[in-house]
């Protein structure tokens, strides 16, 4: 009511002027009063003196007016800041250590948060992305092998016309086509989508248009949309591209549009695996061009179905409606199996397992920051006795307790802000490293950057950090009795028991958090070791894999393709350094493909209840090259061409012919009534999808088998006597010498494939270990600091003990015992916390339980040994105290 803020602000900036004015005014008063006193016949000195006495303390008056003109908080903040800077500058060692550790802590938190910001908080940049759901199908009879399945085409068409809970439904599948006429022939991967996909996502093309509904029908589907990156790379960003014709697979496609640069689309794996693959970075989209009538309602679950929920409809309602439709489809199909559906929020599906891992990292990096705070609080507490004297003087001079607390908090906030600014710089560089090290599986990883939200996070973290580590010392100093601190003098402020206990509990806390982090990192590491040690079924060392795709226009007949494969093999086998070589239609760890039933003759099991296996076409030499063990019978040989023979994996033998000799047994692959294949050998099970996943049943058919096979894609597997990557050029040369028009899609070692398949885990484990080691070192530093400080303080006492006959080992043990007791308490708390938190870790572990005794024992050893070392150094210094010096010290 009194002062309106603006006026006050104006006054604030004119306060010096007003001070001058009032000073002059007060002088004028003095002169007038002196005149009057002179008139009362006082002597000049007397007159002046009386006037001055009457006016009182002019400085005080001016000060009061000056304060009226000032913005109290702003001014005292400025004072505190300047004073704080001076205090920090006076102890540069402490300041540098504090700012650097804070910068590391805040920087690491900022970097991890910016990953979370991009990956978890805004995974999909589509219109109202929270309304988007992924629809997957469930065949209860298959749920043992496939809990859920992608969508299939005919069912999608039914949903599209009948499910009213959805505004719109679209489907996407993988696609790969060979581009010619623009440089070397190259296979390009992209997606095939129902024409409404981009409308559903709310994506507007940068150039041209999206697809028209009629372009979904076969024959009218020779139109294509390019992604921005593909358009720029391959077509040099040609603005006149729309309307032009480009040859894919030897067929002309008309470019109808270019997608915006910001457009991103999830990979097939993020949709839970699709028929056509759909790798990351799809470069084009084409319409479906498929006839639903050619698909069965209970097969070819190859597509990701994305639905936009009608506003006001709940996911539960949509699912209920969908399940009614599904039940009807299953009934009409009359195959003796049921059909249900499940809808999953698209964002959740895309982020998938990355969520838990990233949140774990955030907790880990937050714990490191907490330890940093604890260390700094401890350091500040140790400096407190010196500050207490200063605080005592200030209190005696009239500083309020609030003002003292504010001063200390300003200092710690200043430290934290400096650390924060430096930390954001570190985060900027750390982030580049993180993104490079992170597995490509993380969605939207390429978009991770420091934005406003991240900077706000960094600022907030710095502020909170400053308050957290400054609060405890501030609280202590506010309770200090000024009389006591002043009376005690500078040297012998004995540390009271409560201060020591406070510092010890901080140490306990640090050790506890460090132990917890180490256990988490230890469990992740053990998981990783177990995972890499798992029996993959093949041996990855010394193996090179080269993927090719045969251009469909020059390889129209299967016989041509088989001839190509045979010719390449002949040339590769004789290359120097090659021990064995063979082809396979899809490599291990690359996911499922060509899943079909194993029908035993004479048994009639309803369609979908037939056991299913992954079928692969292999050439002679594959098993030798991949190092897959033969268990029974023989491997495939050149003479098996055109014969209906097969190898099966061990799990097939056990499942189909338990207790019998599988050799010579016959079965029908899939629905084909005519052909039968005969088992000639049994090979070891192989991890097909991921190291974590148990092996799937496998059937291997010979290349050239009469079974239908497109044969367009294959991988050449070469076992080398030398480092496998050195064979790359000669193997590629051999392929080119057979046909230079065949594009080579990938070339990598099997070791790389294995390593890529555990990339997410390695990333999590690596960062968790980094944080844990960092935490341990910080805790050790904290322990060292506290013990060293207490030894320095107790020199006199230790000297006295020595003078009274204590041996060096007695003193050392005394210091060790006192230093280690909070460590042991903290370790115990950390172990208990790890046991309690074990449940949260379950999904991240492999082959190890969350209470693995070995890991716990190892962590215990590491923690106690590190702590003992941190105590031992100052403890041994205690034994070197010269009693005479120590006693004279006072």
């Amino acid at each position: 009511m009194e002062f309106d803020f603006l006026r006050r602000f104006r006054r604030f900036f004119r306060r010096r002027y007003w001070d001058e004015e009032r000073k002059r005014e007060l002088e004028a008063y003095l002169e007038i009063e002196t005149d009057e006193n002179l008139a009362r016949s006082m002597s000049p000195e007397e007159a002046r003196f009386a006037a001055t006495r009457k006016l009182g303390n002019t400085t005080r008056i001016r000060e009061e007016i000056y304060n009226m003109n000032s913005l109290g908080w702003l001014e005292s903040l400025w004072q505190d800041l300047r004073y704080g800077l001076r205090v920090l500058a006076r102890s540069p060692g402490f300041t540098v250590v504090a700012v650097l550790t804070l910068a590391l802590g805040i920087g690491a938190n900022t970097a991890i948060f910016s990953m979370i910001n991009s990956v978890l908080l805004r995974p999909l940049a589509y219109r109202e992305a929270q309304q988007l759901y992924l629809v997957r199908e469930i065949v209860p009879e298959l749920s043992q092998t496939y809990p859920t399945l992608p969508a299939n085409l005919p069912n999608f068409r039914v949903w599209q016309s009948e499910c009213h809970s959805f505004d719109e439904v679209a489907i996407v599948g993988g696609s790969a086509m060979t581009l010619t006429g623009y440089g070397e022939a190259e296979e390009i991967s992209g997606g095939m989508a129902s024409s409404n996909l981009f409308h559903l996502l709310g994506v507007v093309p940068e150039l041209g248009r999206t697809f028209l509904p009629e372009e979904d029908t076969p024959g009218k589907d020779h139109v294509i949309m390019l992604t921005d990156a593909f358009w720029r790379d391959r077509f040099r960003g040609d603005p006149g591209i729309v309307g032009r014709t480009v040859a894919f697979n030897g067929t002309p496609f008309q470019v109808v549009g270019v997608l915006p640069a910001s457009f991103r689309f999830p990979r097939g794996a993020q949709f839970g695996g699709l028929g056509g693959g759909l790798p990351s970075g799809a470069q084009y989209f084409k319409p479906l061009g498929l006839d639903p009538k050619q698909f069965s309602p209970l097969g070819e679950f190859d597509f990701a179905a994305i639905a936009r929920l009608r506003p006001g409809t709940s996911a539960g309602q949509a699912l209920a409606e969908l399940d009614v439709i599904q039940a009807r489809i299953a009934k009409e199909a009359n195959q003796g199996v049921g059909l249900r559906a499940v809808i999953i929020p698209l964002e959740g599906a895309v982020v998938g397992t990355a969520r838990r891992g990233l949140l774990l990292l955030l907790v880990g990096v937050g714990a490191v920051l907490l330890i940093i705070c604890t260390n700094l609080a401890n350091l500040l507490l140790a400096r407190l006795p010196a500050r207490a004297r200063e605080a005592g003087i200030r209190t005696a001079l009239g500083a309020s307790c609030g003002r003292l607390v504010r001063q200390l908090l300003t200092e710690s906030a200043l430290l934290a802000s400096l650390g924060g600014i430096l930390g954001v710089g570190l985060a900027h560089f750390g982030l580049q490293w993180l993104v490079a090290a992170a597995p490509a599986d993380l969605p939207r990883l390429d978009e991770v950057h420091l934005d406003g939200r991240v900077l706000a996070f960094a600022a907030l973290t710095s502020l909170i950090t400053g308050i957290v580590f400054g609060a405890l010392p501030a609280w202590r100093i506010s309770r200090a009795d000024p009389q006591q601190t002043l009376k005690a003098g500078a040297v012998t402020i004995t540390e009271d028991r409560s201060a020591r206990r406070l510092r010890e509990s901080l140490i306990g806390f640090e050790v506890g958090v460090g132990t917890l982090l180490l256990i988490v990192a230890g469990l992740l590491t053990t998981s990783m070791v177990r995972l890499l040690g798992v029996d993959k079924g093949f041996s990855a060392e010394h193996v090179l894999a080269v993927d090719v795709s045969l251009p469909p226009w020059s390889y129209t007949k299967l016989a041509q393709k088989e001839e190509f494969y045979e010719n390449v093999l002949e040339r590769v086998r004789v290359l120097p350094g090659v021990k064995a070589a063979g082809w396979i239609s899809r490599l291990p760890l690359q996911g499922q493909e060509k899943v079909d039933g194993i029908n035993l003759p004479g048994q009639s099991v309803p369609g979908l209840q037939v056991p299913v296996a992954n079928y692969r076409y292999v050439s002679p030499g594959y098993f030798q090259a991949m190092g897959i063990r033969l268990i029974q019978g023989r491997l495939l040989e050149a003479k098996d061409r055109d014969l209906d023979v097969a190898l099966v994996s061990e799990s097939v033998a056990k499942k189909m012919w338990p207790g019998e000799n599988p050799l010579g047994k016959q079965f029908r692959p899939g629905d084909d009534e005519r052909s039968r294949v005969r088992v000639v050998g049994v090979v070891a099970d192989v991890r097909m999808v991921a190291l974590e996943e148990p092996p799937f049943m496998m059937v291997y058919l010979p290349v050239g088998s009469p079974r239908p096979w497109s044969g367009s894609y294959s991988s050449l597997v070469v076992r080398a006597a030398v480092a496998p990557e050195t064979l790359g050029p000669t193997v590629r040369g051999a392929i080119r010498s057979v046909d230079s028009g065949v594009p080579i899609r990938h070339q990598r070692t099997m070791a790389d494939i294995v390593s890529d398949s555990v990339a997410v885990r390695r990333f999590q484990m690596g960062l968790a270990s980094l944080f844990a080691v960092f935490a341990l070192l910080l805790a050790a530093l904290g322990i060292y600091g506290v013990v060293a400080y207490s030894v320095a303080r107790r020199r006199q006492e230790l000297g006295l003990r020595m003078a009274l006959g204590a041996r060096a080992s007695d003193l050392r043990n005394l210091v060790l015992r006192q230093g280690l007791s909070p460590v042991v308490a903290g370790w115990a708390a950390g172990v208990l916390a790890a046991l309690a938190a074990g449940r949260l870790m379950r999904g991240l572990l492999f082959g190890v339980t969350a209470d693995d005794p070995l890991t716990f024992a190892a962590v215990t050893l590491v923690v106690l040994a590190t702590a003992a070392l941190a105590c031992y150094l100052p403890a041994s210094r205690a034994t070197r105290v010269d009693p005479m010096v120590a006693l004279r010290y006072e």
Binding site: R7, E25, L26, L55, G56, R60, I61, I65, M68
Partner: protein
């Protein structure tokens, strides 16, 4: 803080009363600090002693609120002095504050002497 040794009533001057007294003094015309203090002391027959430690801050406050304005002038005996005068807002405030003061005095009076009625 009140200065020790002042006349007894000084410390008990009600908050805001000094403002009222200053405004009232200025009704008679512009005056400088010294005159204002003198006038208050004189007219209260020396009962109210004006503490200079509060006079000048009070003048500053009133001016800041816009109830009085000031300018440099020359005093009776040729000294430079800062003269204060009432602004129209100040005049209105004075009327309001005076009636509130009188109300207050009557109320206290009623409380102190209930038996006589």
């Amino acid at each position: 803080m009140p200065k020790k040794g002042s006349p007894p009533l000084e410390g008990e001057l009600l908050q805001g009363t000094l403002d009222l007294l200053i405004l009232q003094t200025l009704v008679l015309g512009p005056a400088h600090g010294h005159t204002i203090a003198y006038a208050i002391e004189h007219r209260s027959e020396e009962v109210l002693q004006v503490e200079h430690g509060s006079l000048y801050p009070a003048l500053h406050r009133l001016e800041d609120r816009g109830w009085i304005s000031s300018s440099w002038g020359t005093s009776e005996n040729n000294r430079r002095a800062r003269y204060y005068q009432l602004t129209p807002t100040g005049r209105k405030q004075l009327a309001q504050q005076t009636s509130r003061w009188e109300e207050l005095v009557r109320a206290i009076d009623r409380v102190l002497r209930p038996a006589e009625e």
